[in-house]
Subunit: 207 residues, 2 copies
Amino acid sequence: MAKKDTPSTPDSTEQKIFDAAHEVFVQKGMDGAKMQEIADKAGINKALLHYYYRSKEKLYEAVAKAVLSRAAPLVGNLIESDRPLEEKIRHFIEFYITTISKNPFIPLFILSEINKHPDHFFEQILPKDLPKPQVFIRQVEEEIAAGRIRAVNPYHLAVNVIAMCVFPFIARPMIRFAMGLNSAELKSFLEERKTQVTEFVLASLRP
Amino acid sequence: MAKKDTPSTPDSTEQKIFDAAHEVFVQKGMDGAKMQEIADKAGINKALLHYYYRSKEKLYEAVAKAVLSRAAPLVGNLIESDRPLEEKIRHFIEFYITTISKNPFIPLFILSEINKHPDHFFEQILPKDLPKPQVFIRQVEEEIAAGRIRAVNPYHLAVNVIAMCVFPFIARPMIRFAMGLNSAELKSFLEERKTQVTEFVLASLRP
DNA sequence: GTCTATAACTCGATAGAC
DNA sequence: GTCTATCGAGTTATAGAC
């Protein structure tokens, strides 16, 4: 294999460049990121960036692909499993919020970069085998038919759950400002959402 | 008054510049926006931009202030009114989604620019008299005490409602892709959310 | 592979004619 | 007020020594 998406050997120069680029691109986007800053953060100089990745655009693409190919199955694996619905929802919310807590800048990066270059993303960067939510949809319909949950449009249900998990991280600075929280209080507010969102969704699904 | 936030006379050069800048900044952000593109879109040349607004930063500030001072009361007026809670929720969702439908790029602009330059926003651009959600909080607590709704944390409730309204617009291209919708289908999906979100929230609040 | 030096380019800003 | 022409700072990219 001539060229991989993600560099392999840890602590190699290529890996250090990739990690630095990941950090900078994810926080500042394609336009806001500067090659100098990436070089500094990697502890090398600009010329080496071009030695490993021919251009800024190529480096950006490597990072964007890695981010998306890690994010996509995260949604898919949980939704496609054959657990009972309530358990699936519980685990999804718990796992999703935990994961985003560890990478709070990722969702906004994905969403705003997709908005700026939609064609680029859907043609070149997105993994081809994106998980489709068929299993989840059918499962919701069965539960409704069996009278175990309230009649609800499964697509809107899915969007609702994802929205409630992701949005608070995207809007972190606003929430912090609007509620007058300090850094620690914000953190526990976001942690609380695991139980709050779960309760909110399950309560809404009561028949 | 020497200088206003928004230019007054319609069809004036200043107004054309402001409108063009609004469009470009909102879609591409401070870093992604180019003065040349703004000039082209306004049908004038770069030099005139600097004649009316001394610098790119000043022009950006004018646009950002206008955007935020229109967005902030939109949340506040509805939440502070003294309507009964259920009616307030119904109207908020309806009105909020309608408004965002007309300006679908605004939420992502606000959120991603705040993330990139938080100090700048909170010190200079945000209107000083941001509406605080006290009325809403107390109202929810009263309804709970009276046993008319399920016990729920009012802050999380507010975040949930806003998340479900706003997020689908931020994630529009992803939703369209994931569900395989064309432009018209996406539009009606977003329109459907007015009733879907309202039902979802009110169902969750049942005692 | 890694560095220094510098070329080539983009873009915001200004000068000056009309 | 509006334009053309150009400058100069900041950035990406390359050349060439080690």
